[in-house]
Subunit: 244 residues, 2 copies
DNA sequence: CGGCGCCTTGAGAGTAATCAACGATAGTGG
DNA sequence: CCACTATCGTTGATTACTCTCAAGGCGCCG
């Protein structure tokens, strides 16, 4: 039962499992008191022990790990509709930190309340499990990116992936979406230096593949980008095939 | 209740949650009819739809993704005691393939039977969930490896990780364990060419860090290796902190 | 206006890839 | 028992992708 909504959490989960009006209402209620978080703020620090679930309603954040050398590796992005650490098993301390990239609107929910919601709303639980599986598959895809794609291919792949995810929550249209990442973020995601990120982006613009104005990304030639990156959205659009 | 056993599955899960004698018996029973699989055989192919859970009792295998160019990226290793796709949500088709590296002894169990076991043995389920979380954390650690470590550091980190995992199932002693990987496998894991893997290994031997004879890896100076790799075993040795 | 954050550019260095042989080892069949 | 073959490891030479260092530009905000 699709219900029109501008709540990205509901929008995302509806894409993963059928939600009843009651499911939707519960999700609306639990996200009704989000709070604004500034850009570049750590929501969860490594070894943090507070025990909340964060639901992103607006904005942009990332999970990252930091080396003693200071080098930082971003290991995933959190977009509107994403739930940070859905699983009962995802207890702190985490092995990584979570940090906003843009000003974000985030609902912070005691884990217990979230788990209760999952117990009372099995379809939400099912969608959450699927979301978690997609996250794992995405991480593996990033491994392929880092392990065996050139800088250009990696960048193309990342942009295709982000655009697809943004579309799924209604934030992208016509290959265009807001993207608050700075070049250093891209470098920390793809294992490239800032300088090289800059040059690769220039190359992509020169090739007529993308356009970045302000904090907006536009994919000018998605077929060519997808081919270049060997991108297929399959891993992001899993559907429940049956219930176990 | 620790029970002496040479079943690596039991050994591993006992390290993650307390198992009763009944739990152990059930695990013994379900792994009582393993079959031998040759080295370099695909157990699960990408887009495979058969629905089994594989439990590795002996041997060595990997999950990998293959690019159209033929390039292959190994995304994780499966060691004795590992259960392939423990979760009810891990339904096929997978986004990757699973392939043995050495001749392996593998129990193939219909998913339904495995899920029933989990339902009847909550401690086993708890341990499995923890195992899955560890797998996810390991994948993120690999991302850090590929994204921001040099070839030498990566190799050191991988060796520390494998040694720790082998120890956990009683297959390593005194920094020595069997390692059936060939140099090409290491390359496909770390995103390096065969030639470079070879040179890095030589460098590590020259530095007195490791010794590889036959299919055996020996870490000669673990403190230095761990320091070089910034390795901490924390992410591999999670303990249940409480039950949710 | 000054400072700061971010982007851009240039030059030089270095790590790792590629190409091409060659060597070692083990299993196979005559 | 010994060629024979295949797989894996090793080496050298060359190329190229990416990094580092350094400096300058541009726009925004106090």
């Amino acid at each position: 039962m699709e219900v029109a909504t501008d709540n990205p959490l509901i929008q995302k989960l509806q894409g993963l499992a059928p939600l009843s009006a009651l499911d939707v209402a519960a999700l609306k209620k639990i996200t009704s008191q989000p709070r604004l978080v500034q850009a570049r703020m750590d929501l969860i620090e490594e070894d943090d022990v507070s025990d909340n679930v964060f639901i992103f309603l607006e904005g942009f954040a990332c999970r990252y790990k930091q080396r003693r050398t200071g080098a930082r590796q971003i290991v995933s992005y959190l977009l509107p509709g994403d739930v940070c650490d859905v699983d009962p098993i995802d207890l702190p301390p985490l092995d990584h930190a979570v940090c906003t990239i843009a000003t974000s609107n985030v609902a912070r929910i005691p884990r217990r309340a979230w788990i209760e919601l999952l117990q009372e709303h099995p379809h939400v639980a099912q969608a959450s499990r699927l979301a978690k599986r997609i996250e794992a598959e995405t991480t593996r895809m990033w491994l392929v990116n880092l392990g065996c794609r050139s800088a250009l291919e990696q960048m193309a792949h990342l942009f295709c992936e982000l655009m697809t995810r943004m579309e799924a929550v209604g934030l992208a249209r016509d290959g265009t979406c807001p993207l608050p990442l700075i070049q250093a973020d891209l470098g920390q995601t793809l294992g490239l230096s800032n300088v090289h990120v800059n040059r690769v982006l220039q190359e992509m613009r020169r090739l007529g593949l993308i356009e970045c104005k302000g904090k907006t990304l536009r994919l000018l030639d998605q077929p060519r980008l997808r081919h270049l990156a060997e991108f297929s959205a399959d891993y992001l659009q899993l559907r429940p095939r049956r219930t176990v």
